[in-house]
């Protein structure tokens, strides 16, 4: 039963992609949208079935081997799927949130012409297919195939409006930065193949303890480089804010809810390796923490509604990495889930605002509470969830990570808390500047501001319900014994992992109270401050530094892009033109000249030919006589 269901899950979006992609010129909009949505919905239903079947079948991972993907000499990589609890959690997030976003896109993209509309849905389906491949693959190579697939779809969708040069540039930037990380991943794959003789998860994890720590650490650091590319961590995070060039539902699906969590999945999946490499693990935690703080500080001063959300995403991904680094794998996966709910909701809410106003700059918003009631309420709930206010979902997942961080090193906790307070601050700055106060934009008499259609608001409401209640899947033990349903569900997968150090219940309660109280205070402060007096003036001093994103983009431009461009120009203008071209043309000229000389031998005089023949024979004789001795 399960063996037949499992391959169908990624197959359906693939079919949706093929149908929409091949017949995009002839399909009407309603049909292509329907194909796109239904294929993902069907996958979601199948995932639910698998979830149910799997629960009754036992807790062993199920592997379905379809065919040999690669079989060369001693290298044999099967194309197969492996389904266990971790995969199922990701399956449900991807197909569930993915379906809601497909549904929302149906209304959001209605202005596109039919061929473009079908192209959009085919890319979206291809993305879901690749993401499913990524989480379902039974070995690292299939995972890598999905990994590349989502990178490609991200590129295609960021550059969806490719007529605008800057959007195409943003797509290119995302692709190139991902490639840098992918290179690390690829080298890790080769290294693993050389060390373990296999890429399948089971073999690699079983043999991991017999490998020297140095090799494991190297592999883990390379995997981490791959993860920083895909999950937008320092140093490869700058593509994500630019990726906001894509349509807003794409930002919600790819650049917030699913694709960027691929790095978290990779590390959580490889926890058996990371547990053996403490250096790499510490590195994960430090990168996560640094990213959290850097991105949160940048988000404080952004004025584009999607940019704030983009930096917020990077910052939240940093939390997940912090969780992975301190060994709280369950917490990290839990945060992936709750983050998928509330961040998708935030992006879709922002999309609803943009849809209503045709405007992304918060300085020209304000007071939208009146016109967009549904968007306003759902957005507020999502803000509360991300700010970590109990009992919304973000509180539970974030505090699980923070208490694990405290157990590892109190400094992690303090810095993480600082990031969390910044989160509360910028989210409520965003909320207050958008929905509270007075409307500061220009009213269009012919386009009155109105609430989005139900096709957009219903997904918002569903996501809001999830964002509010999602946290109850992981109630910490201090409140309810055995209340951490997700933790219990994931336990078999993460069984081998070193359990995070336990904090005493009183300390944990105190930490929670501290973070919740401070977050609440921050949000009240931010709300009251920015609803009365929006942040409109030009930033100065530190604010200017933050508004300009610490000039990291400029730094990368100076340090990497410009030297590389100069090198490329040198290669093109000097090396190519005067050295390589000269060499190639020289060879051509030499051959021409030589043949012109040799042609003279072909005189037509029989005597000449015979003479040459005789001379040749004599030379052969001489060689025979003198050289062969």
């Amino acid at each position: 039963m399960l063996n037949t269901l499992i391959p169908l899950v990624p197959l359906l979006p693939l079919i949706g992609f093929l149908v929409n992609g091949l017949f995009r010129q002839s399909l009407p909009k309603s049909l292509s949208g329907l194909i796109g949505c239904l294929s993902v919905l069907a996958s979601f239903v199948l995932s639910l079935l698998i979830f149910q079947e799997f629960g009754t079948a036992g807790s062993e991972a199920i592997t379905v081997r379809l065919f040999d993907f690669l079989s060369v000499g001693s290298v044999n990589v099967p194309f197969g799927f492996q389904v266990d609890q971790l995969t199922i959690v990701f399956l449900l997030i991807i197909t569930g949130v993915g379906f809601l976003i497909h549904w929302y896109s149906f209304a959001y993209m209605h202005d596109e012409n039919p061929a473009q509309f079908a192209r959009y849905f085919s890319f979206l389906n291809l993305f879901v297919f690749s993401m499913l491949l990524l989480v379902m693959g039974s070995n690292y190579l299939i995972l890598f195939a999905g990994w590349e697939g989502v990178g490609l779809c991200s590129y295609l969708l960021i550059g969806y409006w490719f007529e605008k040069t800057e959007y195409a540039q943003a797509a290119k930037k995302a692709f190139v930065m991902n490639r840098i990380g992918d290179l690390g991943f690829l080298i890790a794959l080769f290294w693993m193949q050389a060390r373990f003789g296999s890429l399948s998860f089971g073999t690699v994890f079983a043999k991991a303890s017999g490998i020297p720590t140095l090799a494991i650490t190297g592999i883990c650091l390379l995997l981490l480089l791959g993860a920083t590319g895909k999950s937008a961590q320092i140093p490869l995070y700058t593509w994500l804010p630019d990726a906001m060039a894509g349509p807003t539902p794409v930002s919600a699906l790819i650049h917030a809810a699913t694709m960027v969590t691929a790095g978290v999945y990779l590390i959580a999946r490889s926890h058996a390796l990371f547990d053996l490499a403490p250096v790499a693990q510490t590195m994960v935690a430090i990168i996560g923490l640094a990213t959290t703080l850097l991105a949160a500080s940048i988000a404080l001063k952004q004025n584009d509604i999607k940019k704030v959300l983009a930096y917020s995403t990077i910052s939240q991904l940093g939390y997940m990495f912090l969780g992975l680094g301190v060994g709280a794998y369950t917490g990290a996966v839990f945060h992936v889930m709750t983050h998928a709910f509330f961040k998708a909701l935030l992006f879709l809410g922002a999309g609803s605002v943009i849809h209503a106003l045709q405007e992304q700059d918060m300085r020209r918003m304000g007071g939208l509470r009146k016109w967009l009631p549904v968007t306003h309420i759902t957005f507020l709930l999502a803000c509360l969830a991300i700010a970590g206010i109990p009992p919304f979902s973000g509180f539970f997942s974030k505090d699980e990570i923070l208490s694990a961080a405290y157990a590892r090193n109190p400094l992690y906790y303090v810095l993480g808390l600082a990031g969390s307070l910044m989160t509360a601050f910028y989210m409520f700055r965003l909320y207050a500047m958008t929905f509270l106060g007075q409307f500061r934009g220009e009213a269009h008499p012919q386009h009155p501001i109105q609430e989005s259609p139900p096709a957009m608001t219903v997904p918002l409401i569903i996501l809001a319900v999830l964002a509010v209640t999602g946290g109850f899947l992981g109630i910490p033990a201090v409140f309810v014994t055995d209340g951490h349903l997700l933790g219990r569900y994931l336990a078999p997968v993460l069984a081998g992992a070193r359990p995070p150090v336990e904090v005493p219940a009183s300390t944990e309660l105190m930490l929670m109270g501290l973070s919740a109280g401070l977050a609440l205070a921050t949000l009240i402060w931010a709300t009251s401050r920015f609803s009365r007096k929006p942040d409109l003036r030009e930033p100065r001093g530190l604010g200017r530094l933050l508004a300009n994103k610490w000039w990291i983009d400029e730094l990368y431009n100076t340090l990497v892009t410009r030297p590389l461009n100069a090198l490329a120009r040198f290669m093109n203008d000097i090396l190519e033109k005067s050295v390589i071209d000269w060499l190639i043309n020289g060879i051509g000229r030499l051959v021409l000249y030589g043949s012109r000389q040799i042609r003279l031998l072909q005189s037509g005089q029989v005597g000449g030919y015979v003479l040459l023949m005789v001379v040749g024979l004599v030379i052969l004789f001489l060689i025979q006589l003198f050289l062969k001795k």
Binding site: Q602, S603, G604, Q605, V606, G607, V610, V614
Partner: protein, 109 residues
């Protein structure tokens, strides 16, 4: 007679043939020189065949016989070649009223 005499004679004949082919322009003479070279080879074959036969006759009465058979083949082929070659020379003479091979470079142009 020692085998060396035969070898030197054959080399002398062959070189005369080569020199003739290289230097002469008359097609018939060239032809004769080619025959001279063939016969030089035939001479060598026969000489070596005889030498082998004398050396190995005690154990193998057939030894060295194939060299002589080979000579017959060469003679047959040479005869066939002569008939074709002479026919060509006749045609050449009819067309150019000469048997000078230097007139045979028309393909060059």
């Amino acid at each position: 007679m020692p085998i060396n005499y035969y070898i030197f004679l054959a080399i002398a004949l062959f070189c005369i043939g080569v020199a003739g082919v290289l230097t002469r322009r008359n097609a018939i003479i060239i032809f004769m020189c080619v025959e001279l070279m063939l016969n030089a080879v035939n001479l060598l074959l026969v000489a070596f065949s005889k030498m082998h036969h004398e050396a190995l006759a005690a154990t193998n009465p057939q030894a060295g016989i194939d060299g002589q058979i080979f000579v017959f083949f060469i003679m047959v082929v040479a005869a066939a070649e002569v008939s074709v070659g002479l026919a060509i020379i006749v045609m050449l003479h009819r067309n150019t009223h000469s048997v000078d091979v230097n007139f045979l470079n028309r393909l060059k142009h």
